[in-house]
């Protein structure tokens, strides 16, 4: 009886820990996408930024010996891809969705090509804060190792919400995303605002990638990402373009992804692959439940409704 109890608690704690571990890359990519979409442009290529960030973060961490330099390099790689997206999209008659898909393939392909040499070596990893020291259970302790990047992301979400509300630049990003006409009437350079939003969004997605290779799972290989970059785009819609909601949505998706491994860790092995599909099923269910054919989504930037 008490063993079962410990098992259930163990699953809950493992899911919570997994939510934080698996959710962190979601968090960074979705915050990046949120920023880009608020400016009225969709960057579907963030999966490419993520994988590219994972590779360059791991490589620089290995070459320099500093995991934090790796994170910076990952962000810069993501920012470069973002800049490429922005520059392509501001040409005439260029569709941001098509460019995004092309850059997703380009980013992952480039990362695989450049990252061949870094599959074997071991790079310094990012440090974690052990919050589980009070517990004697190794499961609990492992689950409550919180990475510093997660803490940064958790602070970044409300900060971005504040930025959209209270900063001149934040209002400029939103104005450009809501109404090009209004932005032009205010004398804003629409392409410039979108360029910086896409670059900053790309930077965040790259940082999210470095979490994959430098913390969890914590090594570089070609199967590192399982589409987190793409799912994060859906997650932004689910979060209604609200950064703080992006934080909760990332935790929810992370937790769903951690369900299979958590159940396995307490000995429930049936349905492992079924539980692994939980985030995808969740994506579908949430989209169906929260969408309506009669009205547009609340919070959707005006640039997408035309």
């Amino acid at each position: 009886m008490s063993g079962e109890h410990a098992g259930l608690l163990g699953v809950l704690i493992a899911v919570l820990g997994g939510a934080i571990r698996v959710g962190t890359p979601f968090l960074f990519v979705s915050l990046g996408e949120c920023l880009t979409e608020k400016s009225g442009r969709i960057n579907l290529g963030l999966e490419g930024n993520l994988v590219m960030g994972a590779m360059s973060g791991y490589a620089i961490s290995y070459l320099s010996g500093s995991a934090w330099l790796g994170v910076l390099a990952a962000g810069l790689a993501g920012a470069l891809l973002g800049a490429l997206h922005a520059l392509l999209c501001q040409q005439r008659n260029v569709n941001d969705i098509a460019v995004g898909i092309a850059l997703m393939l380009f980013g992952t392909g480039l990362a695989f090509f450049l990252g061949k040499a870094f599959i074997q070596p071991t790079a310094p990893r990012l440090p974690a804060i052990a919050l589980g020291g009070w517990s004697g259970s190794p499961v609990v302790r492992a689950a409550l190792e919180i990475n510093v990047l997660f803490v940064i992301g958790a602070l970044l979400a409300p900060a971005m919400g504040w930025f959209f509300r209270n900063a001149r630049w934040g209002l400029m990003v939103r104005t450009v995303g809501e109404s090009t006409d209004a932005a032009l009437a205010m004398g804003l350079d629409v392409n410039r605002v979108r360029f910086f939003s896409t670059v900053a969004g790309g930077f965040l997605a790259g940082v999210g990638g470095s979490f994959l290779s430098l913390y969890y799972p914590g090594s570089w290989n070609e199967g590192l990402s399982s589409g987190q970059g793409l799912m994060a785009v859906a997650l932004v819609i689910f979060a209604r373009w609200n950064p703080v909601s992006c934080f909760y949505a990332s935790l929810l998706f992370g937790g769903a992804a951690a369900l299979g491994p958590a159940l396995q860790s307490v000995g429930i092995t049936w349905g492992y692959y079924l539980f692994n599909a939980a985030p995808y099923v969740l994506t579908l269910l949430i989209m169906i439940a929260t969408s309506s054919s009669r009205r547009t989504l609340t919070g959707m930037p005006g640039a997408f409704t035309r």
């Binding site: 509300r165 209270n166 001149r168 209002l171 209004a182 009437a185 919070g299």
Partner: protein, 505 residues
Amino acid sequence: MSGRPRYALEGVNISKRFGHLRALEGVSLRLRRGSFHALLGENGAGKSTLVKCIMGYHRPSEGQFLIDEQEQSIDNPHEAHRLGIGMVYQHFTLIPNMSVAENLVLARPCLPARIDWRAETRRLREKLDALPFQVPLDAAINSLSAGEKQKVEILKQLTLDCRILILDEPTSVLTPDEADEVLGRIKAMTRETDLSVLIITHKFREVMHYADEVTVLRKGRAAGTTTVAGTTPAALAGMMLGCDPKRMPSTRREVAVREQVLDLERLTVLDDNGEPAVRGLSLSVAGGEIVGIAGVSGNGQRELVQALCGQRDIGAGCMRVQAERFRATREEIRRHHFRCLPEEPLRNACVPGMTIAENLALREFDRAPYARCGGWLNRAAIGARAAALIERFSVSPPVPAMPIGQLSGGNVQRAVLARELSGDVSVLIVANPCFGLDFAAVAEVRERIMSARNQGAAVLLVSEDLEEILELADRLLVMAGGRLVYETTPAAADLTLIGQHMAGH
């Protein structure tokens, strides 16, 4: 008061040409300080061009502007704002996903890097307390009604301390009650403060109720300026419509009239806001007659035509064609030879990116001989028919493979006429067919409409051009407020009476 300028804004001999088109010819306008001045005119009379010159969007070809009796050149909209001129556009320019306060703050010329919302809200509230409109500052724009949005648009200009407010048909999206409230309060402001208002409108009621003075434009010229106290709607209508040189009227032949071709029974149609635009309208048009519906635009004509052409759902009532219920399905349109020539044909009756040939085939492409076994298009047949129609209706340039969006307005109209008038026609719905066309094209289009009637079609002509209706129609109806309020024949027409009914009196 002595020494203060009498006129807030004067335009002296303003002319504006676009290539060969003379949009404005020597128009003078004087806006007295603290007055409510109406600018009245038909579509295309030059009202918008004039205010765009005032706002610095266009540079007048000739003439100058005086602000507070000082000559000023207004080179761009920023310059206009600097001079204290603010404009509220016909369509909303607010950002729907933002709050009222955010929209008002964004309108400020320079924003601080960090916005202190508490201070901004306090500042806005202080300003708003001195103004006659109250709006909830933290409400999102998309949760407001059209009337409230219009108030925010006006407040946006007033919080920027503008002294000359230009309103471009501000009530076109408002209900009558909302319109009365907004105009009444602005009128009160002109009494209590320095504010001078120039309002573009074609609603006589608003002119008579709220304006102090009115300037009428006709075909780019000032047809006159008068005080509202010294005029009547009929006199204004006369100034608006004027007397144009007569052209050769289209030939009208005696034809046997067939009854019950098009019947509308207590038809109600809702506009985009869900308000009734057409209210219980009953009408019947016989084969071999043209029934003309006259009226000032915005009285439900657009919604009526859209309902007839299948572009808008019917709220209540029913339409009958040849005594059968008509719901504007593709099958019914084909069976009854129901044809439609809507206004702005490029937008309402064409796919601009498709070729002339494809657009000419839109009614027939899915039937033999243009479609063969199971939906394969016979491009050769479509092309051959297009070439024949282009020849017959002299569409220029005669290139079937050219996208129709590249044609001039007159040629788009010819192409649509070619599609709609080829073959049998039982019912023809026409809306403002000559809008924006030159003299020769106008004569040709009217001739085609007349010949459709002579061949026995029931023609419903909805037009803002009274002269066009007087020339073409067998019967004339006046539409106001979504209802048919008056019926006469062109032979017995009394312009004064028609004008009064158009104005809703």
